[in-house]
Amino acid sequence: MKVGIPGGLLYYRYGRLWNSFLRALGAEVVESGQTTRSILTSGVSKAENESCLAVKVFYGHVLALQDKVDALFVPRLVSVKKRTHTCPKMLGLPDMARAATGDGSTIISPTIDFQSGLWHNYKAVYSLGRIFTSNPLRIIGAGIKAWREHRLYLERLTLGLDHKSALEGEAGSLLCEGRELRIGVIGHHYNVYDTFTTMSLLERLGGMGVDAVTADMVPEKLRDEELKRLPKDIYWSYEQEVAGAILACSRHRLVDGIIFMISFPCGPDSIIRVLCEQENKAIGNVPMLTLVMDEHTGEGGFLTRIEAFVDMLRRRKVRNEEPREAIAV
């Protein structure tokens, strides 16, 4: 059976896990690969106007795959942590994928929900395995193997390997090499690691001689500490990571500047943005640039803002290191 994994949204987090699990079960896995101009265009033409850029890209990936495979793999992640939800769009994703293909493709969508307990999730994964094989040991083996690879992949991201080499398990360039300037590029996985919609921001920063820190590289302990300070807890799992990372970077001066990547019109981000901007201002350590991307974002305008931000940070750094009198002149 040929199974397609669309390379959008949560693929940037669980792609490795899904791929190795399905492969270990004996399925032939087809991935839609990197986002391209044509994928984006077909996604935009099919998706709702009001969807966020990431969902439009996801639609494009679904459309690119639908004729090549027997079934599409679009899991429904309701909650990945106790007492949190993912974004509503993740909850409806399999149904939206079905609507995108016009009811034309089979969609495999196990429901993962940590609010209803671990046992429920094991059952969901097991019944997913039963589609491909009737051997329970093989399913369990595949599960363990995939989970190990997933942990490794996350660890590589934590170490600061760039996304492509982390996914393929090769040695690659590091995002953070100890250069003079360090910028936190923080946002959802699919907003930060997608090289097409972000116009290879991470790579370009490297080219400018700047280190990049992603939300994965901020220690979880620091992130959780920040979340505990908030007067009302954030109930979206991935927003917790984003907000925690931004505030931790800011409070502990882990970086010289923060770029907050948002895809227009992301619902949770619009709320978290207010919170992060205010808290960051109150802490007052680190400047923050909020970049909102959509399908119309032009490369020129995008780069100009990044360059200006980097220049500003450079000057700020130099000025802070020089003795006070020098500035007075």
Partner: protein
Amino acid sequence: MKISWPHMGSLEFVMGSVFEEMGVDYVLPPPNSQRTLELGARHGPEFACFPLKTTLGNFIEAIEKGADTLIMVAGRGPCRFGYYAETQRRILEEAGYDFRMVPLEFEPAKIPATLRRLHDLKQGRSWLSLYRAIKFALNKAYLIDRLERQALHQRYLDREKGATTAALKRCYALVWDAGSYAALDGIEEEAFAIMHSVPRVEREEVKIGIVGEFYLVLEPFFNLNVEEQLGNLGAYVERNIYLTDWLRPSGERPVLGHREHASELLAMAYLTHKVGGEGIFSVGDTVLFHNQGFDGVVQLMPFTCMPETIAKSILPLVSRDLGIPVLSVVIDEMTGRAGVATRLEAFTDLARFRRRAHGREADLTLQPAF
């Protein structure tokens, strides 16, 4: 302490009645206006959903009128609404307003905190009087909902356009002036008599259902009076949400006499999981309206509303399968009145031609109210 709250349809009658009964000081925010919207859009985050901006505008106008305690419901659904209170508190504080935000949360773990907040709000009045005031107000709300439903059902028969709306306004005043719980029965009779006395003419009917996000469905100013417009275009209108569905503690929502669960089951064929907000009901109720012989469904949603965006991307599939026309109207601060009016007009015509073509006769007897 002067309490205030944001507008949402006839919510002002309910909340106002509670505080009036209790003898607690309150400020009614000025009615929704273009200024409300401008204030909200100026201070609100760029692509936060529309109700966040409008209620923010209400809060600002209420503070200007002297309110210092703002009530807002909070929660932890996947929808953004649960975080409104916190976000609005941050925005208003940064803008330099002086106030206290009281978020009321109704999930089990937060009940003690909510009770403490209610205790502060009632300022020494007894819990029994609060209970009585709420009971009285809820009964007023049920009555208002029944009257609104009556108006939706009969507006298309008006001899003179606007007669039903005028009658409804008189009924609102009657209900607002109700002196006691016991008087409500008499007022109900009187109000329905007013509604029934509106002169009618015979007209070919076309049935249109309204589904969508509850704030926009309930708030006539911001949904550009969609109900009234449809009624004036000659449509028998039914909507899937009434105020009390949302206020009622049990959370049961009878749509055309059906319960919430029925709607979820119907939605299952298209949307297999709850997506927060009214996403699943927008899909389920569309099927329900089709099964009840309606000729079209209008979906109302604020721009960037997450659950409704999902519903909107699935509704074309429903529409294709069942053959019921669905019009999604997305509303934000830039929405033009004329554009919506044109679309509603075209949609009503389409539904009417479709009805004629099908020659379908569905009975138009009034549904039992609640």
